[in-house]
Symmetry: C2
Subunit: 215 residues, 2 copies
């Protein structure tokens, strides 16, 4: 019996990341068992606060992170301050070319764009803040109607929930469609398999961030 | 201008919890801004390991947790060892009667059931391990076909992804349907609003936990 390859997925954390951007994909990838090791990485190891409060522990700093076969970059309101953080951009510049697949969810695409990694590529991002996010990548062909966009090893998804559909598509690509479908079934998730279907393009640049609560 | 009531949601953590059970609902609730404070609670404060690895920090121990208006109990393979943990069952017995809404996702329902809190009530849970989970509540009317089931203040959802639909339904109940729909739109989530629609009943008791990976 041959030893199966274990891949490593590095999930990037930074303050005020959006919870489902990170944990939707990690749920799907986490169902692969021993085939994939998930590690958390941030500028410094230790707890990192999400947008609504709960802290996730970064196991590795940028300096101590192992080789990453897959990279997952979440978005959120915290993305925008990071666009001026050379440490995170340098980390992505160093690690993305060595990764099999480098993914982003929502506004996370802005970090790859700002790092120059989306130059000359097709990509997508969050719909409510589309133009704002796209400004980080003037040399990128931004697709306004897409659940996710794959261009070589760079795969960018639309807002928040779209990351789950992208993750299952990448599982299908690396481990086979049957494995991805089994994971969707086990997690009782109605997987949207068509990357071009995007019911949320109608909210393009609406700029809504939190709902209006009644008095 | 009157001061709006801020509620507190306590998310219960225990080792090997399922990521999306916790973070799907917390994404939706986390979009409420100042209307809801989210806190994490475990038997002891500190990092708690999820099933696939990443650690979430529990801010409060059972002893130090504040009054909880909403309670969220995730499921996962870690649920079953906790059925013999008196501390977690006592915590749920003490806190559930004082909560406005007490929720579970997936096998998390087994903890409420074992604590006796689902006696004489209707409830649902994960489909793949339905009968196994239901064994914790012999006096509960378990519903095999339901995305979620609401019985008084106890609200139990089906497996993993179903927690997001339940969370939005509870947001609609407490803050209004428009607020819930705005959150679904912002998170680019196709909210399933019908609690009786359950495409996963066909997997009842299949007992699949991890996909079969090819050689």
């Amino acid at each position: 019996m041959t030893q199966k390859k274990q891949r490593t997925l590095g999930a990037l954390l930074y303050p005020q990341f959006e919870l489902l951007d990170l944990y939707g994909p990690l749920e799907m990838f986490g169902c692969l068992g021993d085939a994939l090791k998930i590690v958390t990485v941030a500028e410094q190891a230790g707890p990192v606060r999400s947008f609504p409060g709960p802290n996730t522990v970064a196991e590795f700093s940028f300096a101590s992170a192992p080789q990453l076969d897959l990279i997952l970059v979440p978005g959120g309101v915290g993305t925008f301050p990071q666009l001026d953080n050379a440490a995170i951009l340098d980390f992505l510049r160093a690690r993305t070319p060595r990764a099999e697949i480098a993914m982003s969810v929502c506004t996370g695409a802005a970090l790859y764009a700002k790092a120059g990694l989306l130059d000359g590529r097709r990509a997508t991002t969050n719909k409510q803040f589309f133009t704002l996010t796209c400004a980080s990548g003037p040399n990128t062909q931004w697709i306004p109607e897409a659940r996710w966009v794959e261009d070589g090893s760079l795969v960018t998804s639309s807002g928040v929930s779209a990351g789950m559909d992208m993750a299952l598509a990448m599982i299908a690509k690396l481990w086979g469609p049957s494995v991805a479908q089994q994971i969707a079934d086990v997690t009782e998730y109605e997987w949207q398999t068509d990357p071009t279907r995007d019911p949320f393009t109608k909210f393009l640049d609406k700029g809504k961030f939190l709902p209006e609560l009644g008095a």
